[in-house]
């Protein structure tokens, strides 16, 4: 019997009772005395990246159940997009339906943001849609335009804050307008001279156009504001000091 085996031995052989599928269920089971710590380790060990093939439709469905738009989480959308070309028709259909569900959620979120007069959230949602669809596709370009127009409304209202300026720089970059992105970043830095996010964005732009002196100046500025204490940015920036 399964209960006779202790520890991880329970997972050898055929499972008697239904196995706990997710770490979240294992934690709830632990709380109610219906699971052991080994169930949590086993469930956690089975979590795989969504991009890992072959993709388990049940894993994707679970992820879709927990997903909501506007959080910058594009991995699930990309996973479904990758399955659209599957040779198995059922898988491709399932992926298409799931993408449709995501689009509906985006539409609802955009509608809510519009009703709440939240242009920033609208811009975020449209930019995510553009990245998911592909910024070179016709629909992607449309979404980018919508995102840009939402930020223009904010600008007219003089309500652009640091985050919305960073988003504006990102949109320019997605549209392929590097020079405009640089101008916008430099203008934003006049209002927020110490923001590490803006400085990092400008450093990336200077790196792209190979403006080494400009890049070094930005990196020095990053060091002054204490943004180079640790992390990946620190590693990249110190190469230029």
């Amino acid at each position: 019997m399964e209960s006779d085996r202790s520890g991880f031995e329970r997972f050898r052989g055929r499972p008697g009772l239904a196995r706990i599928r997710t770490p979240d269920a294992a934690i709830r089971g632990l709380l109610n005395g219906a699971a052991e710590p080994e169930d949590l380790y086993e469930a956690a060990g089975r979590v795989r990246p969504l991009a890992s093939k072959p993709q388990d439709p049940a894993d994707l469905d679970r992820a879709l159940a927990r997903w909501s738009p506007g959080k910058g989480d594009l991995a699930l959308g990309r996973a479904f997009k990758g399955l659209l070309d599957s040779s198995d028709q059922e898988t491709a259909l399932h992926a298409a339906e799931s993408m449709s569900v995501m689009e509906v959620r985006y539409a609802k979120a955009i509608d809510t943001a519009r009703k709440n007069n939240n242009q920033y959230m609208q811009a975020i949602l449209y930019s995510e849609l553009a990245e998911l669809t592909g910024v070179r596709e016709t629909l992607g370009i449309f979404y980018l335009r919508q995102a840009f127009e939402a930020l223009v409304v904010l600008s007219d209202r003089k309500a652009l804050n640091c985050d919305s300026l960073k988003l504006a720089v990102k949109l320019q970059l997605l549209m392929g307008r590097t020079k405009t992105a640089i101008q916008l970043a430099q203008k934003a830095l006049k209002s927020y001279p110490n923001d590490p996010g803006l400085l990092e964005a400008l450093a990336d732009l200077k790196f792209q156009v190979r403006d080494y002196e400009g890049l070094r100046a930005v990196v020095r500025r990053l060091e002054e504001v204490g943004a180079l204490d640790m992390g990946r940015l620190s590693q990249a920036a110190r190469r230029w000091l």
Partner: protein, 460 residues
């Protein structure tokens, strides 16, 4: 104040409340004070409860307090304690005896492991559950974070293994494209290209590209950073441009990284990173990219080897022209397109004797002379080996029956008037020519080759 510290106060309050209940009961039962009949219950029940939780002595204290409350009431009402039927309290009253025995009994239960320890265990379990619940809430939050990170990971190690397995292809261009996609995922490459060294042109030729950055179709070995990386089998990194004026001169602002591909002693080509985010341009990322290319090296060597073998089997080793297998494929393709074309078969009867006399180079020389004779036309001819080593097939697109017969006669005349020179000797080719053009009635290409072969047989 904690529960533990407040317990004595709670107990005292409970005792006072029990006494107050007895006081109130007596006040309401002025006609029958004390313990007559069922009136003893307000005194007995609290005592039993106290005995269960706190032991027999507290139960007696509860009975004592209740008695004091009753006595107090008699003083308040009658003005005199002696008016209180005290004898009823002290006489062997069944109710009082029952209360005393119950207190003892229930107190004994409270002392033993049964009830009190059950309560203790219950309290401990409840506390543990509260504590566990708080801990698991924290675990839940941490789990949610790491699960999200893992689910959306694009560069986890298992993914690297999957992508490396995907490089197991026989096509060099497919492998190169796969390598660029891998670099995009694991080294944040936005644009890149793979070049291979072309020995004949002595330059680097583009095999595959990725992303939006421009990648020229070829790069010279001298004067380009790609060529420098290939010639020196060394890594080029953008940062070197600021330190090395020689590299700075070669740099055209496109290349971020250039890494040689293949073994150090014999580089096959160059992997070029054209665009990556600023935060990805780190030494550790460069090392990661080098490690990925090193892991992909066996797959690249296999694909290159396979490509070479395929090319060799496509060409006849002696004559240097496409093999019979290639000819069959070309013929089938031409036939399927349903456009007019013609076929000429040449059989060189004295080829073997020429090779014996003049050496293996004679074969190539013969093919070369045939090729030059037929290449004189405007048609894009395909010269291939036919079934036997002394047979050559020529495919001429767009040529019909009358054109092919004229071309064959002109070729024969040209070869006779200007015989080929092999090893400084004029050589007469003992040539038989058969030809055929595509007809509407032809069911397959064999119908055409059959007609051409028949013509050759007829000249024997």
């Amino acid at each position: 104040m904690g529960i533990r510290k407040a317990r004595p106060w709670i107990m005292t309050a409970e005792l006072v409340a029990a006494a107050a209940t007895a006081f109130a009961w007596n006040a309401l039962s002025a006609s029958a004070p004390g313990f007559p009949g069922l009136a003893f219950l307000p005194y007995w029940l609290p005592a039993v409860v106290f005995a269960s939780f706190y032991g027999p002595w507290i139960a007696y204290a509860s009975i004592g307090l209740s008695l004091l409350a009753i006595a107090g009431l008699s003083i308040l009402t009658a003005g005199d304690f002696s008016a209180f039927p005290i004898h009823e309290l002290v006489s062997p009253s069944a109710a009082l005896v029952l209360a005393a025995i119950s207190a003892l009994g229930f107190g004994s239960i409270a002392r033993k492991d049964g009830f009190a320890s059950l309560l203790q265990r219950y309290r401990a379990a409840y506390k543990d559950k509260l504590r566990l619940g708080r801990t698991l809430e924290a675990v839940k939050i941490v789990n949610a974070y790491y699960e999200k990170e893992l689910l959306s990971a694009q560069d986890a190690l298992p993914l690297l293994h999957e992508h490396l397995r995907g490089l197991n292809t026989r096509s060099v261009s497919e492998l190169a494209s796969g390598l660029l996609a891998l670099a995009n995922r694991f080294a944040s490459l936005r644009s890149g290209a793979v070049y291979r060294y072309d020995e004949r042109a002595d330059q680097l030729e583009l095999v595959a590209r990725y992303g939006d950055s421009p990648a020229p179709a070829s790069r010279p070995l001298e004067g380009s950073v790609e060529g420098w990386a290939f010639r020196n089998a060394s890594r080029f990194t953008l940062r070197q441009v600021l330190e090395d004026p020689y590299l700075a001169k070669m740099d055209d602002g496109r290349v971020v990284l250039a890494l040689p591909l293949g073994p150090a002693e014999h580089s096959w080509g160059v992997f070029v990173a054209l665009d990556m985010p600023f935060v990805a341009y780190t030494e550790s990322n460069e090392r990661a990219l080098s490690a990925i290319l090193e892991l992909a090296r066996p797959y690249l060597e296999r694909a290159v080897r396979f490509e070479r073998l395929a090319r060799e089997s496509d060409f006849d080793a002696h004559s240097g022209i496409p093999s019979y297998g290639q000819f069959s494929a070309l013929l089938a393709d031409a036939f399927s397109r349903e456009t007019p074309f013609s076929l000429i078969l040449c059989q060189i009867d004295n080829l073997r004797s020429m090779i014996q006399e003049l050496g293996p180079a004679a074969e190539r020389a013969c093919v070369s002379s045939l090729s030059s004779v037929f290449s004189g036309t405007d048609a894009a001819i395909e010269l291939c080996q036919y079934k036997r080593s002394d047979q050559i097939a020529i495919l001429i697109p767009g040529l019909r029956e009358d054109g092919v017969s004229r071309m064959s006669l002109e070729a024969l005349a040209a070869l006779q008037s200007q015989p080929p020179v092999i090893a400084d000797r004029e050589v007469r080719l003992d040539l038989r020519i058969g030809f055929a053009s595509r007809r509407a009635a032809d069911q397959s290409s064999e119908d055409m080759t059959g007609r051409a072969e028949l013509l050759i047989e007829m000249q024997a």
